[in-house]
Amino acid sequence: MRFILGFIGSVFAAILLFSMISNLATYYGNKPAPLASDVFHKEPKELHLASDGPFGNFKNQAQLQRGFQVYSEVCSACHSLKLVSFRDLKGIGYNDAEIKKIASDWKTQVPSINPDTGEASTRKALPSDNFPPPFANEVAARAANNNALPPDLSLITKAREGGAAYVYSLLTGWADPDTYRNEHGERLPADAKPPQGLHFNPYFANLNIAMPPPLTTDGQVSYADGTKPTVDQMAKDVAAFLAWTAEPNLGNRHAAGVPVIVFLLIAAVLAYLAYQQIWHDAKRSVRVTGALDPKNQAKSRRAKAKQGVAG
């Protein structure tokens, strides 16, 4: 049987090594040109938010509310927020009356049934409703957006490599493909330039994104708290807000994690001491010569060495 298995193993290995040689020969015979997306794609810029790190939380509610303002005045024209309900806004500091007003003033209404006729109709949103999407369905969304589908933003910072920093970088990352140079000073080759209807953004995975720059001018949104609404600031704020929509329990999670870690740390130390206590005699009693043997009496490293006991 071992010969059969050895033969099977050798066949597998031989095929693999032959595949390898043939692949390498193909590669060296015809080296593929590097893809534009490998040469020009950029990692997200640095972004520091209050929700970062092991003690991050959502207590910077002024920024989160500003981010919500950017979402509702700009992003929500195309992007849904399907997993978030109006009542969740309590988590970023709005009170019940404010939430009620935000819901009933929301620009799209919630599908409903006319109570008199039974016909399909719409009604104003309630705090218990999820944010109604801007388009009734995917076909409508694509029809209004040059056949591109604006993704739902509820989980966007968890659904993209780089998280909130990616959102911030993307929102501030559009560049002119004709004058753009990467960090090595290389220009975009002609065949990598965005086709009709797409826009060049080096932070986007394949460089060409269907979304035109949504934040274009400083002061596009007017902040009530006096923060200067630069494009950079608006992008940061909305990234902070989307970090909250993706993980509203992050603050609770971190707050719960610390006592759990402390508890387990104390439990581990106590259990370790108990383990040492329980094993103390067992480690000595193994010596057959008995408890009075000086070798068994030797506890310290030096005493053990003197008695010729290993360890």
């Binding site: 597998f12 290995a13 693999l16 090594l17 759990v260 259990a271 108990a274 329980i278 290993a310």
Partner: protein, 438 residues
């Protein structure tokens, strides 16, 4: 059960005596994990991982049962039930879900360490072949359970993972495609696949628990192995499981749970993939479809077959991938060395660490996007994987001269260098001192 000096259960309280005479459940527990199970006294920390795997199985079952109360197994409802209902609205739902997600990863981490412990210390050798094989059955069930569990949130990786993995079956000639359609209940993963995966994902953990009982039962006949691989000879070679190993397992479990808590509370998505937070979309293929990290080595083996040699490359890949696990069932007969422990096998030891590095490389290649050098690296690593088990191991076990073994466990725990014996069937002179004294 296994040794004559194992203490029988002696109920002290009258209630326990009453119970013991009618249903000897306390007696069973006492003999299995209590003072009535003698364990070699020289176990190192690698012997703690079996208990840890049991702990993580329990965590998975408990969190999973509660999650199932809030989960909708429909293609319309699954993603939202996980990402809105459970993550936002259920009390501590986020904790249950993250504990379950990362519990799966930790279950695999401790199981992999447990398996490699067995590989190094020859735990698969007589008389523990069935312990090893039952363990592999558990591992296969774990893989099936984990795969189906990953499909349940119905994100992009769930959907495309299901598509790719069930696609393996279509590699087999003639029966392949009908088999795939039968497994999925349709031509592509859909409602039928999701609901049956949910049903099986709920069932299989209990099957695992059943096989775990068989695994422990089979283990208790010869008793636990130990780092020297030398058989237990007398009472002073052993200690009762309770309190000695319960104490050791207890503190070590707390330490490992500490690491698990750090990941669950502070980096719960570190081991996951961002694409699974995008709802499943049969019309948009993700740029890089990758399974969960614990499948990466097998995924690398699958992808390493790139040429049609008599059979299609895909079929070779699928055969090799299944073969890479199935060959482990033959391990007790592939490795004929009478010495169990790798500590006393100088040549085997080197190849063992080469295997560890090889599996890590396969894992890296399986998880990363393919390019020309990763493909080549994966092919070398996959080739070594098969050569290691099917060619190198039988040859090493035939030609290697093992180091002298200690004459008993107690000798090795003491300063055993003075009284060494050659291993059974070996009369060669000693080659250097043993390593496990003190």
């Amino acid at each position: 059960m296994s040794f004559s000096w194992a203490k029988p259960y002696e109920p002290k309280h009258p209630l326990m005596r009453w119970l013991d005479e009618r249903l000897p459940l306390p007696r069973l527990a006492y003999g299995a994990i209590g003072g009535g199970y003698p364990v070699p006294r020289n176990l190192n920390y690698f012997w703690n991982f079996g208990v840890l795997a049991g702990i993580f199985l329990t965590i998975q079952i408990v969190t999973g049962i509660v999650l199932a109360m809030h989960y909708y197994a429909t293609t319309d409802g699954a993603f939202n039930s996980v990402n809105q209902l459970i993550m936002r609205d259920v009390n501590a739902g986020w904790l249950l879900r993250y504990a379950h997600m990362n519990g799966a990863s930790f279950f695999f981490i401790v199981t992999y360490i447990h398996i490699f412990r067995g590989l190094f210390y020859g735990s698969y050798k007589a008389p523990r072949e069935l312990v090893w094989m039952l363990g592999l059955v558990i591992y296969l069930l774990m893989m099936a359970t984990a795969f189906m569990g990953y499909v349940l949130p119905w994100g992009q990786m769930s959907y495309w993972g299901a598509q790719v993995i069930t696609g393996f079956f279509s590699a087999f000639p003639l029966i392949g495609e009908p088999l795939r359609v039968w497994i999925l209940g349709g031509y592509a993963p859909d409602e039928a696949a999701l609901t049956r995966f949910f049903s099986l994902h709920y069932l299989l953990p209990f099957v695992i628990a059943g096989v775990v009982i068989l695994h422990i039962w089979a283990l208790h006949i010869p008793g636990s192995s130990n780092p020297t691989g030398v058989d237990v000879k007398e009472e002073r070679d052993t200690l009762p499981f309770h309190p000695f190993y319960t104490a050791k397992d207890g503190w070590f479990a707390a330490a490992v749970l500490l690491v698990y808590a750090v990941v669950t509370f502070f980096a719960p998505n570190y081991l996951g993939h961002p694409d699974n937070y995008i709802p499943a979309n049969p019309l948009a293929t993700p740029a890089h479809i990758v399974p969960e990290w614990y499948f990466w080595p097998f995924y690398a083996i699958l992808r390493s077959f790139t040429i049609d040699f008599i059979l299609p490359a895909k079929l070779w890949g699928v055969l090799a991938m299944f073969g890479s696990i199935l060959l482990l069932f033959f391990l007790p007969w592939l490795d004929k060395s009478p010495v169990r422990s790798g500590s006393y096998r100088p040549v085997f030891k080197r190849f063992f660490w080469l295997l560890v590095a090889d599996v890590l490389i396969l894992g890296y290649v399986g998880g990363a996007p393919l390019n020309w050098w990763r493909t080549a690296l994966g092919q070398i690593a996959a080739a070594y994987y098969f050569l290691h088990f099917l060619v190198v191991l039988p040859l090493v076990s035939a030609f290697e001269t093992p180091d002298p073994l200690p004459s008993s466990i107690s000798e090795s725990v003491l300063h055993g260098e003075e009284t060494e014996a050659a291993p059974a069937g070996q009369t060669k002179p000693r080659r250097g001192a043993t390593a496990t004294a003190g």
